[in-house]
């Protein structure tokens, strides 16, 4: 339909798309379709939105899983070290470092890594997905993982500090257990109960970060799809992406709550 479309044609298309109906009718129709798994078609490519989402999903999944693993391992390790050091009085550098880390925008972190490893050392590709090999995920996953690890490190550190002050830790030490056993077997296990609850929140942050990271590194995932759709004013696709993200976050939070109740019987009554 060009600029010179006749009013009749415009009318007939409006009627066909159901744009004549009042807003609540349109909303209910949208809701009904969405519940049946029909997210509509892209205005730009005419492809069903669900199909685009499904085709982009593996990239985002891969990026997020890599980043999630990295951020959890790194975050917990740094958090534990920070707490243990702090108790022994040699950890005064860790808190400022974490604060600085928390203040770095994920995009900036990505650009810095890009410069050091891509431009300077020429170790990794800078952007794009190429043949889809793991090399192309190295920098994006590192960026997102580092970004996510700061929050987890902070939480782990706080939880560990709390646990290390408990009486049973003193008991364990008094029994003459090795410090390593006390820290990892006794303290970390209990601190993880707190840390696990924030993993869900962390995932929501990772999802946000993945939009930025995918755009920065030119990875064709859902985040990039969303940004491109925003640029093209392709509303069905934008809605589809937002819906996907909200559903993921809610789903993960629910799963976390269930897992938490299962792992920690104390919470079940509350």
């Amino acid at each position: 339909m060009g600029e010179r479309a006749s009013p009749e044609l415009i009318d007939s298309i409006r009627r066909e798309l159901g744009l004549d109906d009042p807003i609540h009718v349109r909303y209910l129709r949208w809701l009904g379709r969405t519940l049946r798994g029909d997210l509509g078609r892209s205005w730009a490519t005419r492809r069903p939105v669900l199909e685009s989402l499904v085709s982009r999903f593996p990239v985002t999944l891969r990026l997020t899983v890599l980043a999630f693993t990295l951020s959890t391992v790194l975050g917990v390790a740094v958090g534990v070290t920070a707490a243990v050091r702090e108790v022994s009085g040699s950890g005064y550098l860790v808190r400022p470092l974490l604060l600085v880390g928390q203040s770095l925008p994920v995009v900036y972190l990505g650009l810095l890594l890009m410069y050091v490893f891509g431009v300077w050392l020429r170790l990794t590709p800078i952007s794009g997905i190429g043949d889809g090999g793991l090399r192309y995920f190295a920098l994006p996953a590192a960026t997102l993982g580092l970004y996510g690890s700061v929050y987890k490190a902070r939480m782990t550190r706080a939880a560990m500090l709390e646990v290390l002050r408990q009486d049973y830790i003193r008991t364990a030490r008094a029994k003459g257990l090795a410090e390593r056993v006390v820290v990892y077997r006794h303290a970390l296990k209990n601190a993880m109960v707190t840390v696990v609850t924030v993993l869900g929140t962390g995932l929501s942050a990772l999802l946000v970060g993945s939009v930025l990271t995918e755009t920065l590194f030119g990875l064709p995932g859902i985040g990039k799809l969303q940004v491109e759709a925003v640029w093209a004013r392709d509303y069905p696709v934008v809605m589809g992406c937002l819906l996907f993200e909200a559903a993921t976050v809610s789903g993960v939070n629910l799963a976390m709550d269930v897992a938490y109740a299962w792992a920690n019987p104390r919470i079940r009554l509350a």
């Binding site: 203040s103 925008p105 995009v107 410069y115 929501s204 939009v211 930025l212 969303q226 993200e245 976050v249």
Partner: protein, 263 residues
């Protein structure tokens, strides 16, 4: 420490027109992508615009947007939070369900959605960030209000016949101020970050207006030859966010001694 950083930033932003060596939009087409040097302390971009000048002017926009958005988020959040916490029952139920629904969407993605709906530009960034920020504030203030509701001084005020509206404004609100101050600094840090992210995605402040996030995006293609194009704006964002984070930490230490051990 945080206060110093923020004060410096704010001063730089306010005095930007007087401080900057070059107008932020002035193009020196004869020296594009100049490295940092005595004439251009932070170098120039592709159009030969002075990076330092653009950073200082970008700070005006970023901080302005952040303050505006926080004002919106706080006024909405505090009002609804106080109502929910004080009235309880169905008022609380309705407001908190809305808050929870709102929080389902990751914040930046919500802001992206709102910015799209409102169209790009400074006013919509400010609106989007304000609308994203209020549920967190509401939840915090509700908690404070809940814990204060049954305290004696409020009961005394109620018994003395103080009308509810004055009770909320005159008695409840001032006691929530410490929590609000902490929420404000945290919110500012989040806003600065979010504005940079939105502008990086091209959904926030539009060119040719200077913005830190947009500068990161525009500098990306020149990473090979002119890394200063992204290094300095990124530092500006990081310093600003760090300042607010430090300030927030400091405020919390002063206002809430209990949390001292537990950060």
């Amino acid at each position: 420490m945080g206060l110093l950083l923020i004060a410096g930033m704010a001063l730089g932003a306010v005095l930007a027109p007087a401080l900057v060596p070059h107008p932020p939009d002035r193009m020196h087409l004869d020296r594009p992508l100049a490295p940092p040097g005595p004439e251009h302390l932070f170098g120039t971009d592709y159009f030969g615009r002075d990076v330092l000048s653009r950073i200082l002017h970008g700070g005006r926009i970023t901080l302005g947007v952040a303050v505006g958005a926080q004002a919106l988020a706080l006024s909405l959040g505090v009002t609804l939070g106080l109502l929910a916490g004080y009235h309880g029952r169905w008022v609380d139920l309705i407001i908190m369900r809305v808050v929870e629904l709102w929080l389902c969407f990751p914040d930046l993605l919500m802001a992206v959605g709102l910015a799209v709906a409102l169209g790009p530009g400074v006013p919509s960034v400010f609106l989007a960030l304000g609308l994203v920020g209020w549920p967190g504030v509401a939840r915090l203030v509700r908690g404070e209000a809940l814990s204060l509701r049954e305290r004696e001084f409020l009961e005394a005020a109620r018994a003395a016949g103080v009308p509810t509206s004055r009770l909320l404004r005159g008695h409840l609100l001032p006691n929530c101020l410490p929590a609000m101050a902490v929420a404000f600094t945290g919110g500012m840090a989040a806003c600065v970050m979010a504005e940079a992210s939105l502008s990086f995605l091209g959904l926030g402040v539009q060119p040719p207006m200077p913005s830190w996030g947009a500068m990161l995006n525009q500098g990306r293609p020149y990473l090979h030859h002119a890394p200063h194009l992204v290094v300095f704006p990124g530092l500006a964002i990081a310093a600003c966010v760090l300042g607010f984070n430090l300030l927030g930490d400091g405020l919390r230490d002063i206002l809430d001694p209990r949390s001292h051990e537990f950060r």
